[in-house]
Amino acid sequence: MKVFGFNFGARKSSSADTAKERLQILLAHERGSGAPGPDYLPLLQRDILEAIARHVKVDRDAVDIRMERDADLSSLEINIELPKRAAAR
């Protein structure tokens, strides 16, 4: 709260604040309304691979999925290594 330029209640953010923030982000994802079920990622991976395999021959091992959950948005990064000569089917 800022009154007359003084910042009351301002303090160095403590480790407990960090804990709260981390938990809020995590729990919002774990129980949030509209959040996908916890086990959707393997299914998503399978669907993506199937879609790609309809066009290009890919190796299951060449798929790398990374996730970064954050307060306002999460990102899902999917890297697929295509074969040297991406042979169309």
Binding site: L26, R66, R69
Partner: protein
């Protein structure tokens, strides 16, 4: 050669996960390729303690069930590049973990890592037994109080009968890690003395980790306490890791350091 180390205790809440995270990070800081595995199915916690909870995509059970490759489930630590984490499942029931599955995953990990640290669930049931079965060595985490010591004794019995190592060699190397050591309460006679615990359990002492506020701070921020060199607990874990790696380090009970004025003004770098 790779080594599988189980961190176990019988009794719950004595500091297994704190210790697995600290020892895993400590081994990695020494340059060893290390992975820490969470065996506590349904109660995922190691990811929080190691600060990678926002990046979990696949877990141990996904790998066992063939839904993901091991490489996809391993999370690389952002602080130490020789460290990885294999999180457990938050949702599956405990039966999803099978002995064959565990053996297969550990076998794959052995090809890539020097140390594989297994964070066991509490208890002496199936989950704890699976976490220990393929271990080459054990770290028994004990608090200096009667129920913890008693449970540690039972776990030692299991380690020496229900592990592959014990089936082959008759015994498994086990180290005692005494945690939440509180000098004041030991002095006042409320808590057991180190010598007494050692006499009863009769296994070599790996380290004494003092009760420390740094542990709570470390779990709040998701930074294994071994990174906190000003804390007694952090230094105790560093020493324990050095002993585990074969160094001989004098056993001392570390207290927390108060940074001096100079250090506070100019940071800790000398």
């Amino acid at each position: 050669m790779s080594k599988v180390i189980v961190v176990t205790s019988g009794k719950g809440g004595v500091g297994k996960t704190t210790s697995a995270a600290a020892i895993g990070a400590g081994l990695a800081l020494r340059g060893h390729k290390t992975v820490v595995i969470d065996f506590d199915v349904g109660l995922r916690n190691l990811d929080m303690i190691m600060g990678c909870e926002r990046r979990v995509v696949f877990d141990f059970i996904n790998v066992i069930q063939g839904d993901a490759k091991l490489k996809q489930a391993l999370i690389k630590d952002r602080r130490v590049d020789t460290l990885s984490i294999l999180p457990t499942s938050q949702t599956r029931d405990k039966d999803a973990l099978t002995q064959e599955g565990v053996e297969k995953v550990l076998g794959e990990l052995r090809e890539e890592f020097d140390y594989i640290v297994c964070d066991s669930p509490a208890g002496i049931e199936r989950g704890a037994q699976l976490a220990m079965y393929f271990a080459d060595e054990a770290i028994v985490v004990t608090n200096p109080e009667v129920s913890s010591v008693r449970d540690s004794d039972r776990v030692l019995g299991l380690l020496n009968s229900r592990t592959r190592k014990a089936e082959e060699d008759g015994t498994i190397p086990a180290h005692l890690l005494l945690t939440r050591y509180d000098a004041k309460r030991i002095e006042s006679g409320e808590m057991m003395k180190v010598e007494d615990v050692l006499e009863i359990l009769a296994i070599p002492l790996l380290g004494i980790v003092p009760e420390s506020t740094a542990v709570l701070r470390a779990s709040n921020t998701g930074t294994p306490v071994v990174h906190d060199e000003t804390s007694g607990a952090g230094r105790a874990y560093r020493d324990a890791v050095a002993r585990l790696a074969g160094d001989s380090v004098e056993m001392k009970i570390a207290g927390d350091e108060k940074p001096g004025l100079f250090q506070r003004l100019f940071g800790r770098t000398a």
